[in-house]
């Protein structure tokens, strides 16, 4: 006789069944929303560090910039830029769902792909904008 599913100690599969699910845009967007949210939580600490460094005068700001402009710092900045873009666009998608719009399977899949494409285009666009010297207009 096969293992009885109710037997104590028997390993039963727990949801979410990641190993047997077929990956879909909607589930990936949901996971990415959470992951970018956690990344942005780290981003809030960087924002606080930036504000404190500015309040500490020129030396304080220099110390922030010397870390932020390292290759790892720039990769992190791109990560925060994309995370903020994705989380905001997908957040708007969630708010639309809450109001009852676009929650059907076809639309949700389309807007999921759209959020990925738009967030990448916008964050690459932001870096191109900075790289080509268009930033710093508040001087």
């Amino acid at each position: 006789m096969a293992d009885h599913p109710q037997r104590p100690g028997h390993e039963r599969p727990l949801s979410p069944h990641l190993s047997i699910y077929r990956w879909q845009v909607t589930m990936l967007a949901s996971i990415t929303h959470r992951a970018t949210g956690v990344a942005l939580a780290v981003g809030t600490l960087v924002l606080a560090w930036w504000l404190v460094s500015v309040s500490n005068g020129p030396e304080g700001y220099e110390s922030f910039m010397s870390v932020a402009t390292t290759p790892i710092g720039l990769i992190a900045m791109f990560g925060f830029t994309w995370s903020l873009t994705f989380h905001m666009l997908n957040g708007i998608r969630h708010l639309a769902w809450d109001m009852g719009y676009g929650f059907d399977k076809v639309t949700a899949t389309k807007t999921g792909s759209l959020v990925y494409i738009l967030s990448l285009v916008i964050s690459v666009g932001i870096f191109a904008f900075v790289w080509t010297g268009h930033a710093g207009y508040l001087q």
């Binding site: 939580a41 708010l95 904008f129 930033a135 508040l138």
Partner: protein, 127 residues
């Protein structure tokens, strides 16, 4: 079948979470507020990249900018603590560990909020 809930409990409608739909609703309210605040933040940061420390100081010392930055930081940190709480609720099942994580999230949230506001006050006072 009669309900085990008292009429008072039903009227309060707070359910197993003891907070009803409060968490859900606050998450949405802060999300709506963060759309314009996040756009302003992006506009501000892009405008300040490549300038110097003096330009950043004078920008953040302006009352409107200080106010918007404080609103952005406060709203985002509150939204963050609500969001991280859901992550802990979903993945941390040990009660002691769960309470520890939720306390840590709230303490870090409040400490970071106070730090941001204090830095903004210092910036405003320095110019």
């Amino acid at each position: 079948m009669s309900s085990l809930q008292t009429p008072l409990h039903k009227v309060r409608g707070l359910g197993a979470s003891h907070s009803g739909t409060g968490h859900f609703w606050r998450q949405r309210i802060t999300a709506v507020a963060l759309v314009p605040l996040g756009l302003w933040f992006t506009f501000a940061i892009l405008g300040l990249i490549g300038t110097n420390e003096v330009a950043i100081l004078s920008f953040l010392a302006h009352p409107w900018n200080a106010l918007l930055m404080a609103a952005f930081a406060t709203t985002m940190l509150y939204h963050m603590s609500l969001g991280l709480q859901v992550v802990v609720d979903d993945y941390v099942h040990n009660t002691g560990m769960k309470i520890f994580c939720l306390l840590l999230i709230r303490f870090v949230m409040i400490a970071t909020t106070v730090t941001c506001i204090f830095a903004l006050i210092r910036i405003a006072a320095s110019t």
